[in-house]
Amino acid sequence: MLTERSRRIGEADIMNKKIYSIGGLFDTPDSIIHAAEEAVKEGYTKFDVNTPYPVHGMESAMKLKPSLIGLVTLFVGLSGAAFAFMFMYWVSVVDYPLIIGGKPFFSWPAFVPVTFEVTVLSAAVGTVAVMIAMFFKFPNNAHPLHDTNYMKHVSSDRFGLNVVAIDPLFDESKVKDFLSRAGAKDIEIFYEPERKPIRVFDPKFIGLLVVIATVTAGVTYFTLNKLLYMPPFTWMAEQDRLSSQSQNAMFTDGFGMRNPVEGTVARGFTPYEFKGQPDSVVRNLSNPLPFSKEVIDRGKMRFDTYCSPCHGYFGKGDSRLNGQFPNPPTLHSDKVRNWPDGNIYHVITNGQNVMPSYDKQITRDDRWAIIHYIRVLQRSLNAKDTDLETKK
């Protein structure tokens, strides 16, 4: 009986084809078991039995070794368990320790459910994946048995045995003879299919990849950068509140950020005693902070934040504000260098000429730290000879 495949190929071609196997069909489970036993007796090792459902006793009739798939399950399952448990340990103890319900960081009984679930998940999915990809080498739709009369029947109502050509005892006429002796009907020869080269560089295939990549990138970009910033996804962000550094119509001055009410005295603080007075009255104000590296670093940070926009990073009066405000004079002048610390403190606190008061923005300690830093800046341009000596 001609198969669909052989009909397609044509008789003449068949002669040049390589034989894959020879198979025959059987009608009852008893006869296929018997045939399998006979095949083993005959000495065939590379033969296979195809049945529409697992037939009891076939494995022992074919003398198959027990399946080792269980070892895969064991390995994957234990790996999953170990990974889950150690991962939870790492998260809860090392990377992000949080006290929850007064329990220790390493509350192992609470890790049991997730460990169990991950074990089951990895073992089940791993076993099936290994079985399909490595034990069966699936997907394999180009196998010689597909689309044959033989496959049509073993898929449905009959039982098939086929001896594969790689068997050392394989001989076309002997195998045919064996099959008919064993009671097979519809003996059929299966040929190796022609191997078509896989054309990875086919322009159509590459075009498809480019289209998929473009669409994926576009959708991802739109979702992450556009869609999530549209309503209703932004509704959580739309709130009636004041935002810092922004205008607000609620107050007459239009500022969103507010100053303390005039005359407010913070708890534990004495108001600045020379507030609003000329600097000539300032006396007995000395820097309470030590001249240490920490203080100077703090002072540099505050100076760079609050003072440098007008005075420049080095106190030279080189404003970064592009003339929006008149440039202040340099801090390296003899006048400022000879001022006592208290005088600079007074100017920061009280303001001078165009410069506003900074007593709301900069804390008292930070002001004194800034003064230490200004002294460092001044000294850097007017170093003394002794500085070189200490350098030795």
């Binding site: 489970p29 008893d30 296979d48 039995v49 195809n50 529409p52 459902y53 697992p54 037939v55 009891h56 006793g57 076939m58 494995e59 074919m62 198959l64 399946s67 798939i69 269980g70 399950t73 998260v91 809860s92 990377d95 992000y96 949080l98 929850i100 319900g101 509350s107 609470a110 890790f111 459910p113 997730v114 169990f116 679930e117 991950v118 089951v120 073992a123 089940a124 999915v125 076993t127 099936v128 079985m131 399909i132 034990f135 069966f136 699936f138 997907p139 394999n140 739709n141 196998h143 597909h146 496959m151 049509k152 073993v154 898929s155 449905s156 109502d157 999530l228 209703p232 996804f233 959580m236």
Partner: protein
Amino acid sequence: MRTFDYTQELPVVDGQPSAKAIDDVVSKPLDTKPGKVWKILITITSLMLLVGGGALVWTFYKGIGVWGNNQPVSWGFDIVNFVFWVGIGHAGTLISAILFLLRQRWRTGIARFAEAMTIFAVMCAGIFPAIHTGRAWLDGYLFPYPNANHIWVNFTSPLLWDVFAVSTYFTVSLVFWYIGLIPDFATLRDRTDNKLKKTIYTIFSLGWRHSTRHWQHYEKTYMILAGFATPLVLSVHTIVSFDFAVSVIPGWHTTIFPPYFVAGAVFSGFAMVQNVLIFVRQAFNMKHIITIKHLERMNQIIILVGTMVGYAYAMEFFIAWYSGNQFETFTFINRAFGPYAWAYWIMVSCNVILPQLFWSKKIRTTIVPMFIIGIIVNIGMWFERFVIIVTSLSRDFLPSSWGMYTPTIYDLGILMFSFGLFFTNVLIFVKTMPSVSISEVKAVVDGAQPSHRGGGHHE
């Protein structure tokens, strides 16, 4: 009294259909154009899906403020429906895995269908935790992955265990189901002449050749999966019950919850499988494959687990009194006689009293009464979750913070959506895939196994 030979197994398939006949019966719904009944049903379920989907979309747009949830009842229909649907799923795994391990060969006719129902039910269940977070598009944070915020999930929380349990359950059920389908897809591939169908079946059968060298690993893997699915299914509803039992709310904080929830899950699941099977065997002429004996055995399991659930109800009351804890005592008196007493008594009569009718052999082997009792059981089990969740939350420790819960039309809409999704899936499934396992049924037909090896049934 009738004498019975217990040394012989009963046939699990009526008559002795040939393998070809089994192919034909099972693939008939796949090869024929949908009938009138099917079209009417899918119209109804799609409408449910559509209208309910409107409620879902409105929830996404406006937020979960459109639901009836409030303080103190911060869990309402969302969690009730979640627990209900997860429970429905459990019967499928019980039939396909536990009965497989127990060598209950009668399961073959109904296992495929029950597994499919598991998957659809877990899909329905999964909707609710996903949407009750409010902003469902940020649900990725439920999983522990290295994110830009440098924070991790809380591995000591039952709610997080739930994420793992439900997603594992869904994945493993899907894999188990698909593994069972591979040989059947191969059979369908080899019998169809339709080119499109052939391509689809070829892809999904992966090139299965019914080879004994494959069957050997296949059967072993199937057993391993069944072995894993069994503790998995028990763990899933156990962990769902931890969502409640680990809290300190009176009526929730009890150790009986895990077995009580698992029994309830099997109870409602079997009722649902029984209902849908009755429909399928009627509609697709499979009365000899899904026999009345199958249904009777399912009804026997329903009465068993129903009685276990009844025991749990009684034990809760006993412990409430025996513990001497006044909050616990109040909660249970409040359940039976408080403002939600109507829900409580619906639950008791549907779950404990009415299923007792199955003691009568006539009722448990007659289609119409068993179908009605199946529906009643599912109504009862839905109300059980409602009673547990709503009564405990609405009246806990402080009378000053008591409050009542009323679902809104959106809650009902989303419940309808989940039913629409479930039944639409079921209907599509029965028309596109073999709803009875072809290879498994062939293997248990009389005479399918070699005669001298002790398989099958001997007259």
